[in-house]
């Protein structure tokens, strides 16, 4: 399939018929649970925001205390939804919509099983109070072996497959490779370090932030950029422009994503150079993001001329890219010491995180799902209206959520900076924003519910048609697959 940016191979919808038989299982194993995790994450996030509105909501039950559900929400989004979709993107790139060797099939099944078992254990552990509260490293120890094994099983195979069918100019393969390699490398190193009793002191803090930004930019961010490079040819019929620039952007991304995290540590117990390195890296990441964005929009201007149908994949992709540019810019500007005095530790930073997570990663991942699933399942999406509803609900939900948190964060930051204003009043001035944020959070939940139902419909429909009128359905899909994403 179209995993090249400039190679001669065209993004043709070949062999949907063979693909359907062999790829259906692996993708559904990966993506079905991912959708469930998406719900879990959104429900937990909504609960968290209600708990902030009134801490007595749902009582003082340890399992649902704010300090546990809010990390659990982020963790289930990233590890439950983000990572499996990232793996699916790589799987899609190496199979090119063709067949999957039997061995690969088994690996996918094993991965999906181990990963989800580990993650259920892990998230339950966080809710039960087993976490060390280390942001993205917050999953409890006992879940790590299963998660690590699950990841390595399919990532190892996927890396080998990507390398063996390497396409010279393919930026998609590079970014996917970065994501595939970074997560086990860094996750493994971090987990080992954290369980060494000799690792103490502020290095634990810099380790945490090295991993946080690395996971978001070099791990999942790389998957999402890989998806951008995969999908633009499919949606637009032409690749992202400026592949030379894209290569530079790739290397900048790979390097600076690992250095950017210390920008968060400004004012903390760290030498000046560590903080400055983080701030500068955030700026360079912004430039890299804009470099990809320029290629994206130049391609969009030249490519999207005729479009009959409303193409959900393309809309999600465009929203994702816009969010990336804004989130990367905010990430850089907010880290400047002159600003961070006001905005550090406020919900404005949380707004930036949500824009990156839900706006960039989430929307780009949906874009992949809208393109990939009909091809794998051999049927178009049953209802364009539902797809549109999903897009509108989530794009408005994210925009308002981010906007409200950003505005609230400014109030909070200016208030916190005034030492004469008691903290109670600062939080009281922030509460109206947090209260209203529950509305867009609900919209987001609705959006994900719509997506889940739509997916269920698609799976059921494709399943029944497969049994009843297999031949007809396959022939139909080969035709439909090109037009409908």
């Amino acid at each position: 399939m179209a995993n090249m940016s400039e190679s001669e191979e065209a993004p043709v919808m070949t062999a949907a018929s063979e693909a359907g038989s062999s790829l259906r299982g692996p993708f559904l194993w990966l993506l079905g649970p991912a959708t469930v995790w998406l719900w879990v994450a959104t429900i937990l996030a909504l609960l968290g925001s209600l708990k902030l509105v009134d801490p007595r909501f749902l009582g003082a039950w340890g399992w649902l205390t704010f300090g546990r559900i809010s990390p659990a929400a982020f963790l289930s989004f990233v590890y439950g939804f983000g990572v499996p979709v990232g793996l699916s993107a790589a799987l899609w790139a190496v199979t090119k919509g063709g067949r999957l060797p039997l061995l690969g099939r088994r690996w996918c099944l094993a991965t999906s099983f181990l990963w989800n078992v580990g993650l259920w254990g892990g998230i339950t552990g966080v809710l039960a109070g087993e976490s060390r509260s280390l942001s993205w490293l917050g999953l409890p120890t006992f879940s790590l072996p299963s998660l690590g094994l699950a990841y390595l099983l399919s990532a190892g195979w996927l890396v080998a497959a990507l390398v063996s069918q390497w396409e010279k100019t393919s930026l998609a393969s590079r970014f996917l490779l970065l994501g595939l390699v970074w997560i086990p490398w860094a996750g493994g190193a971090a987990a080992l370090m954290l369980h060494d009793p000799a690792v103490r002191g502020v290095a634990v803090g810099s380790l945490e932030w090295w991993f946080n930004d690395g996971l978001l930019y070099a791990g999942l961010g790389a998957f999402a950029l890989g998806i951008v490079y995969l999908l633009v040819p499919v949606s637009l019929g032409r690749p992202v422009a400026f592949s030379g620039l894209g290569r530079i952007a790739f290397w900048a991304w790979a390097l600076f994503a690992n250095l950017a995290g210390t920008a968060h540590l400004v004012g903390g117990p760290f030498p000046l150079w560590m903080v400055s390195l983080g701030v500068s890296s955030r700026f360079l990441l912004w430039v890299a993001a804009v470099a990809v964005g320029v290629g994206f929009w130049v391609a969009a201007r030249g490519g999207a001329a005729e479009k009959g149908d409303w193409d959900p994949s393309w809309h999600f992709l465009r929203f994702g890219m816009s969010s990336l540019l804004v989130a990367a810019g905010l990430g850089a500007l907010l880290a400047l010491p002159a600003w961070s005095r006001y905005v550090h530790y406020t919900v404005l930073e949380e707004a930036q995180l949500i824009l990156f997570l839900y706006g960039f990663l989430g929307m780009t991942f949906f874009s992949l799902l809208y393109t990939l699933l009909p091809r794998v399942l051999g049927r178009p999406w049953p209802s364009p209206t539902l797809a549109k509803a999903h897009f509108l609900l989530s794009s408005y939900g994210i925009s308002f959520l981010v906007g409200l948190l950003a505005a609230g964060g400014l109030f909070q930051g200016v208030g916190l900076d005034d030492p004469d204003l008691p903290i109670h009043e600062v939080i009281v001035s922030l509460l109206p924003f947090l209260r209203s944020a529950a509305a867009p959070a609900t919209a987001l939940l609705a959006a994900h519910a719509v997506f889940g139902l739509h997916l269920l419909w698609l799976v059921v429909e494709s399943g029944s048609s497969r049994r009843v009128e297999e031949e007809a359905a396959l022939a139909g899909s080969a035709r439909e697959g090109v037009r409908t994403p």
Partner: protein, 219 residues
């Protein structure tokens, strides 16, 4: 039919070469230069013991309440924030740069870092003191009755003369020390005299400055 269509479009797309928008080049150049300049300016010499930038960052006006909170006995006429008293500046410089080793209380850490509170070096000849801090200090040194043998890095590349004068004044007047203030000019002249001395000082070397300095000053 359906299979051919996208292929054609790809070919079209790749043949028309686009040119990089000018605006992007300007943006990228500006931001990259800014990032590099920012890092060079605030690299703190890549040192593990520099926590705060001197200059712009350290000099951002503090809110009036925070000034009041840290300096109760100011008493004098109200001053512009930038013209804070040397003690105040010195305290900030100390907490940012020296406290990591000599500890926020000036007591040092037994066996590793000598105290600066009640130290004869601190309360002694200001020129020897300035030289030690400018150039760093290594080898055995006796402070407040105990022997230390460590290495203090040089501060001449990190701190300006004014900052060093301020921190030394602070040292000489805090924690029960009662010695004279150190002027920026004194630090400046010591810096000028000792430019040729690259490595950290040994105690024997730096002690010689005390005598020599008087003569030099007379010239």
């Amino acid at each position: 039919m359906n299979r051919e269509e996208p292929q054609e479009r790809v070919v079209q797309g790749t043949t028309s070469e686009e040119r990089l928008p000018c605006l992007f080049l300007v943006f990228a150049t500006v931001i990259v230069l800014f990032a590099v300049a920012f890092f060079l300016r605030y690299s703190g010499g890549w040192r593990w013991d520099v926590y705060d930038a001197s200059g712009y960052l350290a000099g951002l006006p503090r809110s009036s309440a925070s000034v009041a909170a840290t300096t109760a006995p100011a008493g004098g006429p109200a001053q512009k924030p930038s013209a804070a008293s040397p003690i105040e500046v010195g305290q900030d410089v100390y907490q940012a740069n020296c406290a990591a080793c000599h500890q926020p209380t000036g007591q040092g850490m037994s066996g590793q870092f000598p105290p600066v509170a009640g130290s004869d070096w601190v309360n002694g000849d200001p020129r020897v003191l300035a030289a030690m801090v400018l150039g760093g200090l290594q080898g055995p040194v006796r402070v407040a009755g105990a022997e230390y043998n460590g290495m203090m890095p040089a501060w001449k590349t990190v701190l300006s003369d004014a900052k060093i004068a301020a921190v030394l004044t602070f040292l000489r007047q805090a924690w029960g020390n009662r010695s004279s203030a150190v002027e920026e000019e004194q630090v400046k002249s010591v810096r000028a005299e000792t430019t040729s001395h690259a490595a950290p000082w040994k105690v024997e070397e730096v002690e010689t400055l005390a005598g020599k300095s008087a003569g030099k000053e007379a010239k």
